[in-house]
């Protein structure tokens, strides 16, 4: 407790509290009281969160075969997988997003059977391209990470499973994959935060995430600064939740730090 109430800490806390009070009192937050904007903000936060969660999950589902192909696959699987990861990692996400949105997005309408399919009402919206581009990005980065993780699982543990007559897929599902995932957990938390920070790019293809909402509020109300502050608070809160979530996950299976 002595350490906690050290003078340095008290000063810091006082400064922080001062800034918050000043922000609340001196800045213009009247727009926050507008129910229209409240609804938009909640919707924007929701969009940001679901895009983040869905693209991380889809990306990891793709990253697993991509990593496995590179770690243990035959060359005709390993090479394309490595090529894909290199391509994704070597080009800007914004470019990938626009290529998919303006490329596929203008190709699809010219193909009659796609226009007539049941999927068309979905494919003519922007979000499928946002989800696709952001998922592929996760797949590219995490595919590389998973390659290392698969290779890092001690061979003896796989051999022990084999020696006990475990079928190959059971070894993968029960031993190899869980340990590889356990290994990427510490990096995955950080990468999820990075992915969160990449989500505002979807606003460039008309998806209304929290960033798009704050831009809209700024244009409507001519309040320049405050919506950006709100944005910072929202992203920091989401990042905080991600960090806590991954810390909890990591603690569930202790790993000896050698």
């Amino acid at each position: 407790m002595q350490g906690f109430w050290a003078p340095r800490r008290i000063v810091m806390a006082a400064i922080a509290a001062g800034i918050v009070v000043w922000c609340v009192l001196a800045l213009n937050w009247t727009w926050l009281a507008d129910p229209k904007y409240q609804g938009l903000i909640l919707q924007g936060i929701w969009t940001t969160i679901w895009i983040l969660v869905v693209t991380m999950v889809l990306g990891m589902l793709l990253a697993i075969p991509l990593g496995l192909a590179q770690a243990a696959g035959p060359w005709w699987l390993a090479m394309p997988a490595a090529g894909f990861c290199g391509l994704i990692r070597g080009t800007p996400l914004l470019l990938q997003l626009w290529l998919l949105y303006y490329g596929l997005g203008s190709l699809f309408p010219s193909i009659p059977w796609i226009r007539q399919s049941d999927l068309w009402p979905i494919l003519r919206q922007a979000w499928p391209y946002a989800v696709l581009a952001l998922s592929l990005s996760v797949a590219g980065y995490e595919g590389e990470v998973m390659r290392g993780a698969f290779k890092g699982v001690p061979h003896g543990q796989l051999e022990a499973a084999k020696a006990m007559g475990m079928p190959r897929f059971t070894i993968f599902r029960r031993i190899w994959l869980p340990q590889a995932l356990r290994r990427v957990l510490p990096t995955l938390g950080g990468e999820t935060v990075l992915q969160m920070k990449a989500t505002p790019l979807v606003a460039t293809i008309t998806v209304i995430d929290i960033y798009a909402v704050s831009s809209r509020i700024r244009q409507d109300t001519f309040v320049v600064y405050e919506p950006l502050l709100l944005l910072a608070v929202v992203y920091m809160a989401i990042a905080g939740v991600i960090v806590l979530l991954f810390r909890w996950l990591e603690n569930r299976v202790p790993q000896k730090t050698a």
Partner: protein, 257 residues
């Protein structure tokens, strides 16, 4: 079984086994026979092919040629020695409990989970039955308190005893040990040997690669001395250790004494 006059059934049989790694001819025609209750010890210098021979028995290495049968059942092999039938290999492996030099416990699972993994998820033993069996085995190897521990937090001796319990938990017909104490600090060797000795005493069939000559002499019913991929000499332990015939074995025993 050991005391009855009638010959016990054959548990493991290896005939004229050859194994090459590329151009490196490692096993040059070795044979081995272990009946129920036998303890066969394989000794020999490093690089003589002991591990390779043991690993061929459960097809962790693919023999180049030869014949292997487990419990009287021939392993189906192609002419090049590779297994013909994956399902058969998996089934036969389930009847052979292998213990490695480096323990190889699954580090993402607790000790108890390590033990019940194969019984529950491969052999489809009811979970409570597997847990009961696992607890009994853990008590037997002196790890009753450790069932919730993760392997990385245990000593080498504890890990190896857990690995032995894990192999026993699938109720194998025979046990294969590949230098189970070689990775251990000297003060931890005794506790592991004591567990293995207990298994020998209860009449378990085992093939044991070891550098512990005194131990091999005490527990083995048959000893094989391997040199450069060939069986240089074999026989009952007292004969092999007490009155070795070949010059190489005499040299070898002198060097490890």
């Amino acid at each position: 079984m050991k005391d009855t006059a009638a010959p016990s059934p054959e548990a493991i049989r290896v005939d004229e086994l050859h194994k090459s790694f590329g151009a490196h001819h490692v096993l040059k025609g070795v044979s081995l026979r272990a009946c129920e209750g036998d303890v066969v010890a394989i000794i020999g210098g490093s690089g003589s092919g002991k591990s390779t021979m043991l690993r061929c028995i459960n097809f962790l290495e693919t023999p180049s040629s030869g014949r292997i049968s487990i419990g009287g059942e021939d392993v189906a092999m192609r002419p090049d020695g590779s297994p013909l039938n994956r399902k058969q290999i998996e089934r036969l492996r389930q009847s052979l409990g292998m213990v490695f030099q480096s323990f190889n416990l699954w580090t993402h699972r607790t000790v108890l989970e390590n033990l019940i993994e194969v019984p529950v998820h491969v052999l489809k033993t009811p979970k409570d039955e597997a847990i009961a069996r696992a607890r009994k085995l853990l008590a037997r190897v002196g790890l009753a308190e450790k069932e919730g521990a993760y392997p990385a937090f245990m000593s080498g001796g504890q890990q190896q005893r857990a690995a032995i319990a894990r192999a026993l938990c699938m109720e194998p017909r025979a046990m294969l040990f590949d230098e189970p104490t070689s990775a251990l600090d000297p003060e931890l060797v005794g506790e592991v040997l004591q567990v293995i000795r207990g298994l020998a005493d209860e009449g378990r069939t085992m093939v044991l690669v070891t550098h512990e000559m005194k131990f091999a002499r005490e527990v083995a019913s048959h000893v094989i001395y391997l040199h450069n991929g060939l069986i240089e000499e074999q026989g009952p332990p007292d004969q092999l250790f007490g009155a070795p015939k070949s010059e190489r074995l005499k040299q070898f025993l002198k060097s490890v004494a």
